[in-house]
């Protein structure tokens, strides 16, 4: 039935068109009913139309038929044609129905259909219009009925008047009127009810919606409050929610700014910010709504802006924005008005009682939230403050901890039970240093228990400590301290422990502090040691004279002498003897006033002995100088006293002794005053001067003693004052009343403290002795004279006359000694004669002197003497021995002259012979016609190679010479007397005696020897062997010719410059040397210079410039570059040639290629440097060896020195011997080392052979297998590339051995040792590498010394520092090089390169 659906839809579209579809509106339903009527009426009326039209036309009532068709047509148009207004459609519809019903009533005889239609009109009117329309229609019906009644009544010609009379019409029409009104009324009631219920429904819906909305609003606000943390968001959200959920047009929140009387906008929604200025820009007094809220604290409501609001500033705005109503609600904070929540609604009367209640609730909630935020903020602030406080507190605490930690004391805080609560750094350190482990649980340990559990030496101190801790913790004591020793493993230490109660809010307990007082203790103990070890007795008392301290001596002293023990704290006076108390008190009083007092006391002992004490009382002062007590020392001076007495006794004795002698004894001060003198001196002085001399009086100012004499004394005194002790005889000439006298006086300087303080003099009268001596002297004078005469005789002798004793000492010598020996007799007497004898003659002189002394007379004995001037003198002796006096007398004559003459003749002869035999030519004399050799010199014998030729003829000696014609020559010379000479004559001689003749070239001469009578009796011959010269010359000639040849090969070329015409000429060789062709290079100086190497150019050019200034010959060496670019060394030398006016006209020179020489020179330089380096190495080696040899040697010297020292104790001797043994064995080791090094240098001569590396490694491993196993060493080898080398096996083995054992020795202890040995071939080199993962060597520091002798790099391993030196020596000996790469803790790699 789609067409039906489409139709219906169409009709609906056409009729309802744009009408609202508000279903709750009655009009909607009326329009819908109208639409439905039309929808169904069109098809239904079509069905009714056909019969009714047919009937009308058949009944000939055409008006009705036409009306039917017309009515149908109008209805169809109304139903389907769009664009007609609904009102017109409705009016037309009712109108056509009315027309139809009137037509039917008028034309049809039956009233039924017309009336029916009229009734329908009434009903439809009611349905599609309103109830009142139904009444109009009913009234219209009544009018129509009355009209028809009038028509009938007036009986106007019409169909209807024909069918009805008035009566019947009224009867029919009254029903219609009645029904019309009844229908109108009924429909009116029905529709009114429907409409009302519809509207009621609508109102309640609206209410519900609003309630919902409000609750949503409230609930959203509440949710927001829950979630939002700050007021800004809350305000923003509240405004947004007001619009979204509260359906308000605008919402804003303002705060009262009481200070400025302004409203501050906090947030808004739905309103432009500019618009809000209407509120916020004006002081709020003028704003009724806001002021009201502020004033009353209740909301302000305006439900009808247009009517009720007084005309304010924003009323026009409200009207413009079609705001119907608004409410301003108070927002409170902490109970007072904070601001307002302003809500604007479009409709008037928007705010009902419920709304207001809910809104108040909302604002209440917001207020609550604000309070909450405020609280939260305060809370946060408080928390922040708390945090800050906490941090400050923590900082303070840290600072305090830091202070505690910096204190040099161990500090711990204990709780009431003695548990450790807190400790400082030092405490922990103390624990650690005393062997506690890192994990030492110092906290929470119970310190009382810890102390109590101390063991060993500390047990007692520990218990004492525990006791102290308990008492302080209990409160019995407010302070506990103790000092205790606590030695660390390395040193002696003392500690002082202090315990004090501790009280804070958190903790009641105690603080324990340990302070290291070792230093003080040590000082104290040292002090105590000093005090107790001194001989003096000390005591210290305070101002009240109570004893503060005393030392052991004092205690012992008191105990010994008074039998009492003194105690500290007791008044010193208690210990004084009762009778002395007063004196003692007065002494102390003075001392306390600052005076120093001394006294001596005498204490009678038990056994008649008396002990003396020297007491010294000093005020004891503190640092500020205040006297706080007295310090008394008592020294036992008994011995001193006794010694003094003894001394006094001795002194008196001495004095008595001194005074009892008649010798004079006195002493003089440095200024010549009398210091002391014995009685004899004083008496003697009185005798001389008449004065009683006293001590202190001047000894050199006596009026009655001659000045001269005093002067003598002064000289003596002064001499003594210079420090010389001496003795002298002083002669006092006779003076009136006095005989002459001699005194023997000794002067001794008195030395005190190395200073001369005076002179001690001792004098004895020796006058008697002197006189006796003088007498004796006189008697011997006569004798003396006789002797003198004899001496004169002796001295006048030319010969030396002398007497010597048995030992050869001169006793007497005559004056001739001066001429013979050069010495005066005085010089000789007392000296031995043998001193003068010439060394060579000494022995024979001694022998002869012995002969003399055995009693033989010696005559004409000759010997030589050395004179004073160093010349020799020969003497001939006659000597005799006087056995009685044991004196040898001798007379000696100078026979030097005679001797010299004899010697001269002998010399002459000898000289001649020497000349003959040493002459550089062979010579000799032949005698007689047979030429018999009379004399020949050795050179001649050498020449002819014969011996024993004298007496033989030339023919016999030299048979080979006969054929060579020499005999003939000799004969001719002998006969003619003509001298024959020849040079470079060849003679063949059998010099070797083998028959083999040797060529000799001789220059020789035969000369006739004539007798005095000019008769020829022989031939002198001279021959010079020039064989060597001839041979040499021949060789030179030969080589000279060769030289000429060589020179051409020497590549020397010549050149010249003609200075007149400036023409350069270069020889062909020149071009050869410079490597250019003549046609390519024009000869010129510039051309030549251009060839010179840039590096040498400057020098060469300078020479050239110089030579043209000086015109001296010159030369230079330089490198030149040939045409093909080779470098050659050339030597260039030149000379100028001058004309007679000394003007240079030509230079000619040579150019030599010296490249080969240069290269050779360079090589030589290299070798020299090499040698120099080797020499230095060798020198260094020597120093090292000597240093290492010296080290033990020096020790041995030291040990032996102290072994010989007398002060060495037996214990020290033992140690010294041990050290000596070590040093000696060290020395031995080094000598062995040197031996092995030297051996290494010798072994080079051994034979080389083909060696396999793998075999060597195997051998080494076998030899040190134990070590390798012990240290788990892995040795990896790789000799795949090359396993053989042609070298010295011993060396290679040693190299491998040393490197492997070194790697093991210096292995790393935390790694598995791995040694990798590898061989490689690189061209003709063989490269060996030894790599390990050991300790390595710091090459930056030690690089240059790795291979040095006696160099070691690790202290922990025993090593001699020889291994690598040996390795290097041996590697180099077999033509290799060794280098090392190493890194500390990584390992070392040695690389050895052998060049084949």
């Amino acid at each position: 039935m789609s067409w039906w659906g489409n139709y219906k839809q169409h009709v609906r579209d056409v009729i309802i068109n744009n009408e609202s579809d508000d279903q709750e509106n009655v009009a909607y339903w009326r329009t819908t009913v109208f639409c439905e009527i039309l929808t169904y009426l069109t098809p239904l009326s079509l069905i009714a139309l056909i019969p009714s039209v047919y009937m009308a036309f058949t009944s000939e009532i055409y008006a009705v038929g036409i009306m039917d068709l017309f009515a149908f047509l109008v209805i169809v148009i109304l139903t389907v044609v769009p664009g007609i207004k609904l009102e017109i459609r409705k009016g037309l519809f009712i109108f056509i129905l009315c027309c139809l019903s009137l037509t039917l009533l008028y034309f049809l005889p039956l009233p039924g259909p017309g009336i029916l239609f009229l009734l329908v009109v009434t009903i439809f009117s009611s349905l599609i219009y309103s109830s009142s329309a139904a009444y109009i229609s009913a009234t219209a019906n009544t009018v129509i009925c009355i009209g028809f009644a009038v028509l009938i009544h007036l009986d106007i010609q019409s169909p209807i008047s024909s069918f009805y009379n008035v009566g019947s019409w009224i009867a029919v029409s009254s029903n219609l009127v009645l029904l019309s009104f009844a229908c109108a009324k009924c429909l009116d009631l029905l529709l009114a009810g429907l409409t009302r219920s519809l509207e009621d429904n609508k109102i309640s819906e609206v209410k519900l919606e609003r309630a919902n909305r409000l609750y949503q609003f409230v609930s959203q606000i509440n949710q927001t409050i829950v979630h939002v943390k700050d007021k800004e968001t809350l305000f923003l959200k509240s405004c947004e929610i007001a619009l979204e959920f509260g359906n308000y047009k605008m919402a804003w929140i303002g705060g009262f700014n009481n200070a400025q009387k302004h409203i501050t906008l906090l947030d808004s929604c739905g309103i432009a910010e500019d618009d809000i200025k209407l509120f916020t820009h004006i002081p709020y007094e003028t704003k009724a709504a806001q002021t009201h809220v502020l004033r009353t604290g209740t909301h302000f409501l305006c439900n009808d802006v247009e009517r009720t609001l007084a005309n304010g500033d924003w009323k026009p705005f409200a009207v413009n924005h079609s705001i119907g109503s608004f409410i301003v609600l108070p927002i409170k904070k902490s109970g007072s008005i904070f601001g307002t929540f302003n809500l604007y609604a479009a409709e008037p009367n928007y705010f009902g009682v419920d709304d207001i209640a809910l809104l108040e609730e909302v604002t209440g909630d917001i207020s609550f939230a604000l309070d909450l935020f405020e609280k939260a903020e305060r809370h946060e602030e408080a928390e922040h403050q708390l945090q800050k406080n906490f941090e400050e507190l923590e900082a303070v605490s840290n600072e305090q901890s830091a202070i505690l930690n910096t204190l040099p004391a161990s500090i711990a805080l204990l709780d009431n039970d003695g548990n450790i609560v807190k400790v400082n750094e030092e405490w922990i350190q103390f624990g650690l240093s005393n062997g506690m482990q890192d994990t030492y649980p110092y906290l929470n340990a119970n310190y009382i228990e810890v102390s109590e559990k101390s063991i060993g030496k500390e047990a007692e101190d520990g218990k004492h400590m525990a006791q102290g801790l308990r008492e302080v913790l209990k409160g019995n004591k407010t302070y506990f301290t103790m000092e205790y020793p606590c030695d660390s493993p390395t040193e002696k230490r003392w500690f002082k422990a202090e315990v004090r109660p501790f009280k804070s809010i958190l903790l009641t307990g105690a603080v324990v502090m340990h302070i290291n007082i070792t230093e003080r203790k040590m000082a104290e103990s040292e002090m105590l040691l000093l005090i107790n070890n001194t001989e003096e007795a000390f005591i210290l008392v305070d101002r009240n004279l109570e004893i503060v301290s005393f030392n052991n001596q004092f205690k012992n002293l008191y105990n010994t002498y008074f039998g009492k023990n003194i105690e500290k704290g007791v008044c010193i006076l208690e210990y004084a003897q009762p009778e002395q108390k007063e004196i003692v008190a007065s002494i102390y009083k003075k001392v306390l006033d600052g005076h120093v007092e001394e006294s001596e006391i005498m204490i009678p002992g038990l056994d008649d002995t008396i002990t003396y004490f020297s007491m010294k009382y000093s005020p004891a002062k503190d640092d500020s100088g205040t006297v706080f007590g007295a310090f008394v020392t008592a020294t036992d001076i008994t011995d001193k006293k006794k010694a003094k007495e003894q001394k006094e006794f001795e002194r008196r004795n001495k004095e008595a002794l001194i005074n009892s002698t008649t010798d004079l004894i006195w002493s003089v001060s440095t200024d010549f005053k009398l210091l002391a003198a014995n009685d004899a001196f004083i008496k003697e002085m009185k005798k001389f001067t008449g004065v009683d001399i006293k001590q202190g009086e001047d000894l050199l100012s006596f009026d009655n003693i001659p000045k001269e004499s005093l002067k003598h004394w002064e000289v003596f005194y002064q001499r003594a004052l210079l420090g010389e002790p001496f003795k002298t005889e002083i002669y006092n000439p006779p003076s009136p009343g006095r005989d002459e006298s001699w005194i023997d006086t000794s002067f001794n300087p008195i030395i005190v403290n190395e200073q001369i303080t005076g002179i001690a003099c001792y004098s004895r009268n020796i006058t008697e002795r002197k006189k006796a001596e003088n007498e004796q002297l006189r008697t011997s004078t006569a004798l003396q004279r006789a002797v003198t005469d004899l001496n004169k005789v002796m001295d006048s002798s030319v010969d030396v006359i002398c007497a010597v004793d048995a030992d050869g000492i001169f006793l007497k010598v005559s004056a001739a000694s001066k001429t013979v020996w050069g010495y005066t007799p005085e010089e000789l007497i007392g000296t031995p004669i043998f001193k003068l004898v010439y060394q060579e003659d000494l022995e024979k002189t001694r022998v002869s002197s012995k002969t003399v002394m055995s009693g033989n007379q010696l005559n004409h004995f000759e010997n030589r003497y050395v004179r004073k001037d160093g010349t020799l003198v020969t003497l001939e002796w006659n000597a005799r021995w006087d056995a009685k006096d044991q004196i040898r007398y001798g007379v000696a004559r100078d026979v030097s002259e005679k001797k010299r003459l004899q010697d001269a003749i002998e010399n002459e002869r000898q000289r001649f012979y020497d000349l003959f035999s040493d002459a550089p030519s062979s010579m000799g004399v032949l005698n007689g016609p047979d030429h018999v050799f009379e004399i020949v010199n050795p050179l001649y014998l050498e020449l002819i190679g014969k011996k024993n030729v004298i007496g033989k003829t030339v023919k016999e000696v030299l048979p080979e010479a006969v054929d060579q014609g020499f005999i003939d020559i000799l004969d001719s010379v002998y006969k003619t007397g003509k001298t024959f000479s020849s040079s470079e004559m060849l003679i063949k001689l059998d010099t070797l005696g083998t028959g083999q003749l040797v060529d000799k070239y001789l220059n020789f001469m035969y000369q006739a020897h004539r007798t005095e009578k000019n008769i020829i009796d022989g031939i002198l011959f001279f021959a010079i062997d020039v064989t060597e010269q001839v041979v040499l010359r021949r060789k030179i000639e030969d080589s000279e010719s060769k030289l000429k040849q060589a020179q051409s090969l020497l590549r020397i070329s010549n050149w010249e410059i003609d200075l007149i015409n400036y023409i350069n000429t270069w020889s062909d060789e020149c071009y050869d040397i410079i490597g250019w062709k003549r046609e390519d290079l024009e000869p010129s100086l510039q051309a030549f210079l251009s060839l010179i190497h840039p590096d040498d150019f400057e020098l060469a050019n300078a020479r050239v410039v110089e030579t043209f200034q000086t015109y001296d010959a010159g030369s230079f060496s330089a490198r030149i570059q040939t045409k093909i670019g080779d470098i050659k060394y050339v030597y260039c030398e030149w000379k100028f040639e001058f004309d007679i006016n000394a003007k240079p006209i030509r230079i000619y020179g040579i150019l030599q290629d010296i490249t080969e020489r240069k290269i050779a020179e360079e090589e030589l330089t290299k070798i020299t440097n090499d040698l120099f380096q080797r020499n230095r190495d060798l020198e260094q080696f020597t120093f090292i060896i000597s240093h290492n040899l010296r080290a033990p040697a020096a020790n041995i010297m030291g040990f032996t020195e102290y072994l010989q020292d007398d002060t060495t104790t037996p214990q020290e001797q033992k140690e010294l011997l041990k050290g000596l043994a070590t040093s000696v064995s060290g020395l031995d080791t080094i000598i062995k080392d040197i031996n092995s090094i030297l051996q290494a240098k010798r072994e080079i001569n051994d034979k080389k052979e083909t060696i396999r590396f793998s075999n060597i490694v195997t051998n080494v491993i076998n030899s040190i297998g134990n070590t390798i196993d012990k240290h788990h060493v892995t040795i990896k080898t790789d000799f795949d590339e090359v396993d053989e080398i042609f070298s010295l096996k011993v060396y290679l083995h040693s190299i491998f051995y040393n490197l492997i054992s070194n790697s093991i020795k210096y292995r790393s202890l935390d790694k598995q040792t791995l040694i990798e040995i590898k061989s490689k071939r690189d061209k003709d080199k063989i490269i060996l590498t030894f790599k390990d993962n050991g300790l390595g060597i710091d090459l930056n520091k030690k690089g240059d010394k790795v291979f040095g002798l006696y160099q070691r790099f690790h202290n922990h391993v025993e090593g001699k520092g020889m291994g690598l030196f040996m390795v290097k020596t041996q590697v180099e000996a077999i033509g290799g090089k060794i280098s090392v790469a190493s890194e500390l803790q990584k390992g070392s790699e040695f690389t050895i390169i052998f060049e084949n």
Partner: protein
């Protein structure tokens, strides 16, 4: 009342030498404060830590040259880096068995070194030093 005794430090890897040197010092000078070190590094540490505070009298240091881990010269180089107050407390003598003129020359030219002494340290040498 504490008596100040002469102080000595001996740095030498040869303990026999040190024994001798100590004996020589004690024999001549009686009670002295002498310490010997076979490891030069230890000696340096000791000096750095024990000579922070000044001693009244100068300390005499005998230093060997030929030592494996640190030679006498290297020791002096390190010593040079100490603060003046520490350095000033020392009189340093090179005590060596070396007779290499280069060593002696080097010792004479080193401003830190007072003199070069050839081993052994004996009475005669010490008497000359301390009279």
């Amino acid at each position: 009342m504490t008596k100040s005794v002469k102080r000595f430090l001996i740095v030498d890897d040869d303990s026999a030498t040190n024994f001798l040197s100590k004996m020589a010092l004690r024999k001549l000078l009686g009670e002295i404060d002498v310490k010997d070190f076979v490891m030069p590094e230890t000696a340096l540490d000791y000096i750095a830590t024990h000579f922070e505070h000044l001693h009244d009298e100068k300390t005499t240091l005998f230093l060997d040259i030929n030592m494996p881990t640190l030679t006498g010269w290297e020791f002096l180089d390190k010593f040079q880096t100490f603060k003046e107050p520490i350095k000033n407390q020392f009189n340093i003598y090179i005590l060596s068995s070396s007779i290499d003129p280069a060593d002696i020359e080097r010792a004479k030219h080193n401003p830190l070194v007072t003199d070069f002494i050839e081993k052994p340290l004996n009475k005669a040498v010490l008497t000359k030093l301390f009279n």
